[in-house]
């Protein structure tokens, strides 16, 4: 917390070089020192609410879960027995499947969202607005409703198959749902807006002058895109990928319904541990392992793509 406050403070100091600072203040106004003090107090005051919220609604439950996974909840004392339950081969297989699902969903979302975000940033306002509405309107509906909507569209007698057969492209119905294909379609559709939302600000922040400069210096358009535009938009892509991956990793209803029983995710196993077995400790231990895996993956990703760019004050 204190280091964040320090950053804000240095920013303020850097943003206002001595020469630019208001001079000749009327007497009686706070001096420069107390102005800094007040600023720091304000920062702390503004941060208090989010910090308290984080502690109460995020950290406290998380630690309860951690405590539970080590046997603290049932009063059995410190034990690793619940973690032994997690390393069953079946859970490892479900874990692998879920990670693969989350990875490919994220990849697909990134590939699709990039051009969409690019268009939304570069098209005239009217069109960009229309695109935004089309994209985000789906967020107003519940996951479950949208999942069922996909069934109507993709099923054997659904819209897509009917059109394909009427036009004569296919002779029989394609298996578009109740398998992995359906799960990917549903998940990408639900998660795409999140990727676009995070990409837009980082693309908007790219100074067109850089692109013009590169072009005027003789770079080919593709080279400009690849060497100038993409690296500058990378922070948004990284943030979006992290968001989408984490959401996809924890997805539950959509794979369960669109997968037709062929895509059991690890979250489904956690659901069973809680609702069917009533084994809260095992569920807590599994959740902790999932959390740890997510953290490790994010750290690796950070090493490769540089999450710190997101928070880089230079941006």
């Amino acid at each position: 917390m204190s280091s964040d406050a320090a950053i804000v403070e240095t920013d303020a100091a850097e943003g206002l070089p001595p020469s630019a600072r208001p001079s000749g203040r009327p007497s009686g106004r706070p001096s420069s020192g107390s102005w800094e003090l007040q600023r720091r107090r304000l920062t702390l005051a503004l941060m208090a609410l989010p910090m308290i919220c984080m502690a109460l609604f995020f950290l406290a439950p998380l630690f309860t879960l951690l405590w539970m996974s080590f046997g603290g909840w049932s009063g059995e004392g410190f034990t690793l027995v619940h973690f032994r339950g997690v390393v069953e081969p079946v859970y490892l297989r479900l874990l692998y499947f879920t990670l693969r699902l989350a990875f490919f969903t994220t990849l697909a979302c990134a590939l699709l969202a990039y051009p969409i975000a690019y268009l939304m940033v570069n098209l005239p306002g009217r069109y960009a607005q229309a695109m935004a509405i089309t994209l985000f309107i789906s967020l107003w509906l519940s996951f479950l409703a949208r999942t069922f909507a996909w069934i109507i569209i993709l099923q054997r007698n659904g819209v897509v198959n009917t059109i394909l057969q009427t036009v004569g492209i296919t002779s029989g119905p394609l298996e578009l749902v109740y398998n992995e294909v359906g799960v990917y379609i549903g998940m990408i559709h639900i998660l795409l807006p999140f990727m676009v939302i995070t990409l837009i600000p980082s693309m908007k922040a790219i100074d067109p002058a850089y692109v013009r400069a590169a072009l005027s210096l003789g770079a080919k358009p593709f080279q400009v895109f690849y060497q100038v535009y993409v690296p500058l938009s990378l922070p948004g892509l990284v943030a979006g990928s992290m968001l989408v991956f984490t959401l996809a990793f924890g997805f539950f209803v959509t794979p369960a319904i669109l997968g037709g029983g062929r895509t059991p995710t690890i979250v489904l196993a956690v659901r069973d541990q809680i609702q069917k077995l009533g084994d809260l400790e095992l569920a807590a231990a599994t959740s902790m392992v999932l959390l740890l895996i997510c953290l490790v993956l994010l750290l690796i990703y950070d090493r490769i793509a540089g999450v710190d760019k997101l928070f880089d004050k230079g941006r």
Partner: protein, 360 residues
């Protein structure tokens, strides 16, 4: 047989119920019942939501409030882990829960439940009206759900599969087949399909059950995660054959897109249970007693295709309609009842192996 023994008395009670001074089976007047059960508390009922709960509210909860002064509210969905947490932090929000049989066993094991007050119930309802099978120490039968053989008459023909064995017999019935993606009742279905008689299912050998599941796995085109999916699946022709919830099949028959029979129907009993530390537990017991009365049970059974705890009700329902109910004696004879005790004892091993089986 026990239904017949009761028929005359029930008929009289039924006739009396149509008259002015509404008599209940015991000879108690409605106002006597109200006098026994009256109070001023509040009962929070945790049940399964949707139309199912709306009908409960209309038939039981609101009339209970009118008669006794005890107010009620309904919430969803029963979850024993949630109850455990509520109990642990001394803040039990539910006074009455509509638990599945296995959920009740989990809750008993964790010592979360209050024994049912049978004295109170029998002061309002004659003991012999209640099915002895559903009277347990910590729970009394709420409703029982059936899983039945269903088919699309347009693609399969008017005469559908007459047994689970026939359902999987591709030489007789060819079509896309859907089952509920849970070990219960898939084990029972697979074992009956393998030829095990319905009365010899338990105790299940888990190895044998998975062998039986292996035999049907390739024939199942679609595993259904939520029962709410059945309607869409049947109506849109996504499945031609299924083992599905009776309530969805009844709708299918009504609308003409599906048919079913009661052969080897798999019945799973749910129970009303009361949390040990529920603030309104005494009033919850009163609500249970109220709901056990024949009149409300009859009304509920007329609207929802579930088997009721009060077995005296069928004589007073018109024969034509009674025949379509799962608890109607001739249909009930064909039922295969889920043994929740076996499931409770084997939950852990089955659950892990089931996930393994489904994902491989």
């Amino acid at each position: 047989m026990k239904f017949k023994g009761m028929s005359r008395r029930e008929l009289l009670a039924g006739l009396a119920a149509t008259g002015a001074g509404s008599l209940v089976g015991t000879g108690l007047r409605a106002q006597d019942v109200a006098e026994i059960l009256k109070g001023d508390g509040h009962v929070v009922v945790c049940t399964w939501g949707g139309h199912y709960t709306d009908v409960m509210d209309q038939i039981w909860f609101s009339k209970f409030t009118d008669a006794t002064g005890i107010t009620t509210s309904a919430t969803a969905i029963p979850d024993m882990s949630k109850l455990e947490v509520m109990d642990k932090v001394n803040n039990v929000e539910w006074d009455l829960i509509d638990t599945e049989g296995t959920q009740m066993l989990v809750a008993i094991e964790k010592d979360l439940l209050e024994p049912i007050d049978y004295d109170l119930i029998f002061s309002v309802v004659p003991k012999e009206q209640i099915d002895p099978k559903v009277m347990k120490e910590y729970g009394i039968g709420s409703v029982a759900f059936s899983t039945c053989i269903g088919w699309n008459p347009k693609t399969i023909g008017e005469e559908g599969p007459q047994s689970w064995q026939e359902l999987f017999d591709e030489s007789k019935f060819k079509g896309r087949l859907g089952l509920y993606a849970q070990p219960r009742p898939t084990f029972e279905i697979a074992l009956m399909a393998a030829g095990v008689p319905k009365d010899e299912i338990y105790p299940i050998s888990i190895d044998e059950a998975f062998e039986a599941c292996d035999a049907i796995k390739d024939k199942v085109d679609l595993w259904v995660e939520r029962t709410s999916q059945w309607g869409v699946l049947m109506e849109s022709g996504e499945v031609d054959l299924c083992g599905a919830s009776l309530s969805r099949l009844v709708t299918g028959r009504k609308e003409g897109y599906f048919d079913f029979n009661f052969n080897q129907a798999i019945v799973e009993q749910s129970y009303w249970t009361v949390p040990k530390n529920a603030p309104g537990k005494e009033d919850a017991m009163k609500l249970i007693a109220w709901m056990m009365q024949a009149e409300g049970m009859r009304e509920y059974a007329s609207q929802m295709p579930y088997t009721m705890a009060n077995t005296s009700i069928y004589d007073a329902i018109p024969e034509e309609h009674a025949k379509t109910l799962p608890g109607y004696p001739a249909n009930a004879e064909k039922n295969m009842n889920i043994d929740e005790t076996w499931w409770g004892a084997n939950a852990e091993e089955v659950r892990t192996r089931w996930l393994d089986w489904m994902s491989s």
